[in-house]
Symmetry: C2
Subunit: 398 residues, 2 copies
């Protein structure tokens, strides 16, 4: 019989998707060029030329049977070695290929990490504002989601609220830096404090607490932002990565999970991942794409455009009277809405054909997400609309 659980999900509204749909319909009405769509986190720059070139090369220089044949469920050993080497060099880690598990994007990596270090019924802590898909991801693993409210002045961690929520039922925390939707990068001060707190709570509770670090925006780091690698701060860290953003390959569903070699039972955590795959039916990821990202591990798309878009938007919006914590990376920013009701605010924005996502979707009302993974000229064209929007609110106040 049709599953009630999944059928019920059909009626849950996905706000982001709805707004993107509205923008699309509006574009059909008045033309693409008159619509300012900042609703979706879809990379706007193509994969670097080298990616397609690498695919051509692999097809030409490797026996066909070898390219497309079954690989180990954990991923091709040579690819895991290439990626481990890159991480070790960049972040001073000590990964062996066996600590890595190739996954179907960050979603796949998270799906495995969540199941590997928790039992159904455990609590998992996430920090507002958070990516809305964390809800189905964690519910799918049978976990109870405990949300730490945002520190809206910095979007670093609200430690007082976190401490209140830490209890023996918590076996994992999920962080996301650079953050979707705020673009904030957790500072080394924050990560140091977080590590100290978790070490203390582990001792107190008598069991490990794993930090699951969702890092698809890791390479989208802006000038002057400190590069912080959470696993460097806390042993029990599982890093989840995707090449969706860094190489603009979101459709290829390719990423990995890396267990910190210093984590408790590190090797066993990596080893259970293929077992998890067997139970969810997600056995491995395209061998051709594995071979490709292995060879392109140290490349990125032309990510500079995201920083230019951020600079332009941040200075303009601030000038127009918006209040916003400046992003350190990603292609998002998360200003305060100009009225407390962020849903009403985003609705009002659509009157100017500006499509934004209310903070409520990310568990953080009173804000809105602006996804600036769009061509630069769209940002330039949109600025007068943001100005008009601010003026409308100003007039109301006056």
């Amino acid at each position: 019989m049709l599953s009630k659980r999944y059928a019920d999900m059909l009626s849950e509204k996905d706000i982001i998707f709805e707004i993107a749909g509205m923008a699309k319909r509006r574009a059909r009405e008045i033309g693409e060029e008159h619509v300012y769509n900042f609703s979706l986190g879809n990379p706007s720059v193509p994969a670097p030329e080298a990616v397609n070139q690498t695919i051509h090369t692999i097809l030409n220089d490797t026996p066909t049977l070898q390219i497309h044949s079954y690989g180990p469920s954990a991923g091709l050993p040579q690819v895991r070695e290439q990626l481990a080497r890159s991480l070790n060099r960049r972040f001073g880690m000590d990964y062996q290929p066996e600590h890595l598990f190739m996954a179907s994007g960050a979603a796949g990596a998270l799906g495995h990490a969540l199941r590997a270090v928790t039992e159904p019924g455990d609590e998992i802590i996430v920090f507002a504002p958070y990516f809305p898909e964390y809800r189905p991801y964690t519910q799918g693993a049978g976990l109870r989601l405990s949300v730490v409210p945002a520190d809206v002045d910095s979007f670093q961690i609200n430690f007082r609220a976190l401490e209140e929520r830490l209890n023996p039922a918590v076996t994992a925390l999920l962080i996301n830096s650079p953050n979707n939707p705020s673009g904030i990068v957790l500072s080394s001060a924050t990560l140091t404090q977080l590590a100290a707190l978790l070490e203390e709570k582990q001792r107190q509770f008598g069991h490990p607490i794993y930090l699951i670090s969702d890092e698809p925006y890791r390479e989208l780091l802006f000038t002057g932002t400190e590069e912080t690698y959470p696993a460097r701060f806390y042993h029990n860290t599982i890093t989840c990565y995707s090449f969706s953003k860094s190489l603009s390959l979101p459709g290829e569903r390719i990423g990995y999970l890396a267990v910190n070699p210093k984590a408790e039972q590190a090797m066993t955590i990596a080893e259970v991942c293929p077992q998890i795959s067997r139970t969810i039916g997600c056995n491995g990821t395209s061998t051709l794409m594995q071979l490709t990202v292995g060879r392109c591990a140290d490349l990125t798309s032309q990510l500079e455009i995201y920083e230019r878009n951020k600079d332009r938007l941040f200075s303009a919006l601030t000038e127009y009277g918006f209040s916003c914590v400046e992003p350190g990376g990603s292609f998002y920013m998360f200003p305060r809405s100009l009225e407390p009701d962020d849903v009403a605010f985003c609705k009002k924005a659509t009157e100017l054909d500006l499509f934004l996502v209310p903070g409520t979707a990310f568990g953080c009302p009173g804000h809105f997400r602006l996804a600036y993974c769009v061509p630069e000229e769209r940002v330039v064209a949109a600025l007068p609309r943001f100005k008009q929007l601010a003026e409308r609110y100003q007039r109301q106040k006056d």
Copy 2:
């Protein structure tokens, strides 16, 4: 904390994998050419030239951003249309693109199908001999596995045993034709009888019973075998397919699920699949591979070698005194072991460097699986060993 459930799976022995490992170690000792490894179902013929050519073409003729960007979770519409059209033409079906869901191989398709039409705690019926991974697949969906013993004289369905097992808790059946490990294709007589029985039981129980048809070997059909498409016989059928075998792309993890348009709530079943993806972290499959199989939907690898291997092995083994139901497709056969204890038999075979998998692994003792997806010359070279093995048993009897 490390998940007990998945950690426990690490200690379960995977017999097929163990035997394949033994064969590999033995090959290192005495050389590949002296080892007769029939343990693994890994295609031995490469993907057709056209597959790699198609990938080159897609990379050259499609904007990069378009190839690799996010697609709908259900899969790219044009690809689902290409596949639906191919199925409609070949099997007289009436699929719309919306009835198809692109999945990470047959495992991914099954993972979604199982969850879409059952509730945790339901019973699912499988038929011995069955692919051992059905156990983790069904357990992962929270289902209780009910195994119908084999009709070892035909490997069609043992209907008496099936009827005994049908009860209101059964919401789905899982069939696999051509079958792994027997190579048997369910006849139209069998499927007609199965459909009639399920129609009757649906009425009696007052709820739908879905037939999940696992068909990765569909295109590996031997001369003279009737091509039967289960969805043609029974409305409530969900077809799960993979290009692993037909196009020799097992590493690319690409397949689909197709809901019979005549199934109860057909469209909703297809619609819940992307919801299921959200909870298991398996969101979609490589867009480049989707585009590729869409364009190559009607091609296959050079599958004739499997039939030649079957012919050669079947006639030789029968001559040596083995008893075997002749396969109608796939690249497997499932003869009776020459002693009742199939594990002891397969152990004895290893003394002759013949690596076979005991039927016990497939829920059907007293048999062994022979995977003949190997180069023809390996089959020719192995025949004297099978003869020697038979003679050893003959001498014991004399």
